[in-house]
Symmetry: C2
């Protein structure tokens, strides 16, 4: 049974990441502080850095990080997380996840830049007609293929769930995309990695999520990094 999961990094004061990201530093400078406990784990070092030396933490944080990487059959992300906004007009741009993105699954990128005005015709009285210009899918090394979709999130989720082949669908982010799925009641498992820091700035996670504890069961556990793992499950 496919479940829909979201994993997010958040500060004690509810910010998911600073708003200071840029093409040069796509995660923003505070992301490393938010994700420090995750990055320090042995599983993360092995899966993302290719470090097979066995270095890294192996406790509570690593258990959550291992679960993070397991059982995902398809991913959904916003255009910003793919990096579409960095070079929106470059058809050769393949996002900022490198030649071998860490997903290894189909990745559905939500974007409305599929729609373009049809400049070949004069503007009619009702305004310009639009036509859909499909952005071609991009197969990458390691099993990741990026697909671009502009439909309703429910429709994209249905397609991703089909592609996941019984595994889970992760809504990877950014936080705006994750919140859209949460608000729509589409998320079965939310895992928050609450870093022991007070950022004081960033994108707020909690707006509009009041009462999530009434629809989902809440658990909390503190990792050796000081990260508080809070899960919401239904």
């Amino acid at each position: 049974m496919t479940r829909v999961r979201v994993n997010l990094f958040v500060s004690l004061d509810g910010f998911t990441s600073a708003t200071d990201n840029s093409p040069d530093n796509p995660m923003g400078e505070d992301w490393g502080r938010l994700a420090a406990g995750h990055i320090a784990t042995r599983t993360f070092r092995e899966r993302v850095f290719g470090d097979t030396s066995g270095a890294g933490t192996t406790g509570v944080d690593d258990r959550y990080t291992a679960a993070f990487f397991e059982g995902v059959g398809a991913e959904i992300m916003g255009a910003g997380m793919f990096g579409l906004h960095a070079f929106p007009g470059d058809p050769e741009w393949k996002g900022w996840w490198g030649d071998r993105p860490p997903f290894g699954t189909p990745v559905y990128v939500l974007t409305n830049t599929l729609r373009r005005q049809d400049w070949s015709k004069p503007a009619p009285p009702g305004g310009y007609p639009y036509r859909v210009v499909p952005r071609p899918s991009i197969p990458m090394e390691g099993g990741t293929t990026f697909h671009f979709r502009s439909g309703a999130i429910e429709d994209v989720l249905a397609e991703a769930a089909d592609a996941a082949g019984g595994l889970d669908v992760r809504v990877g982010g950014g936080v705006g995309t994750a919140r859209a799925f949460l608000r729509a009641g589409l998320v079965d498992d939310l895992h928050l990695m609450v870093a022991p820091i007070v950022l004081g700035r960033g994108t707020g996670l909690w707006d509009d999520l009041g009462g999530l504890d009434l629809t989902h069961k809440v658990t909390s556990e503190v990792g050796e990094s000081g990260t508080i793992h809070v899960t919401f499950t239904r």
Copy 2:
């Protein structure tokens, strides 16, 4: 050495209590959900309800609740927490903490209603003069005496620290008062009891507290009630 401490209840989404409190329900209806883990402890039941049956939880939550009640020599609170706004014109009103308030120490209530216009004189060109009408202190059963002060928070803190006789001064609340002391850098120990609920409304705790993790050491621990105890200590 007197330390200044704050203990606050807060939801996962950073709200300290709902804004629905009233004279009939001075804590607001969500306070019970925020403080459920604290109220369920054996120590709280004994200290506040007078329940000596031994009922109540005795684990992590109780350890924090016991510390909550220990070592406080003086308390500071805002006028709203005392209940001054409920009956501001009634000189007989002694607040809503009952005949035997749970503090057992001097309690300094911050208020600016000490100042009254001197209606006995005609208004001079520069406007009405004000005179300070001291609100008399109120001794209560059980060792609590309420004092009313309108000075700078630093001055009130200095007086409370003198009165504490080497024990700690607690800034009890409400959250506006606690935040004023936090913003001014006057708090040595902040203990947050983060309830596993997403209130979605209330008074925000975190505004203006960015970087508190840089001046204070942070610890986190999860109690059997699901309450996450987060401490900031310097």
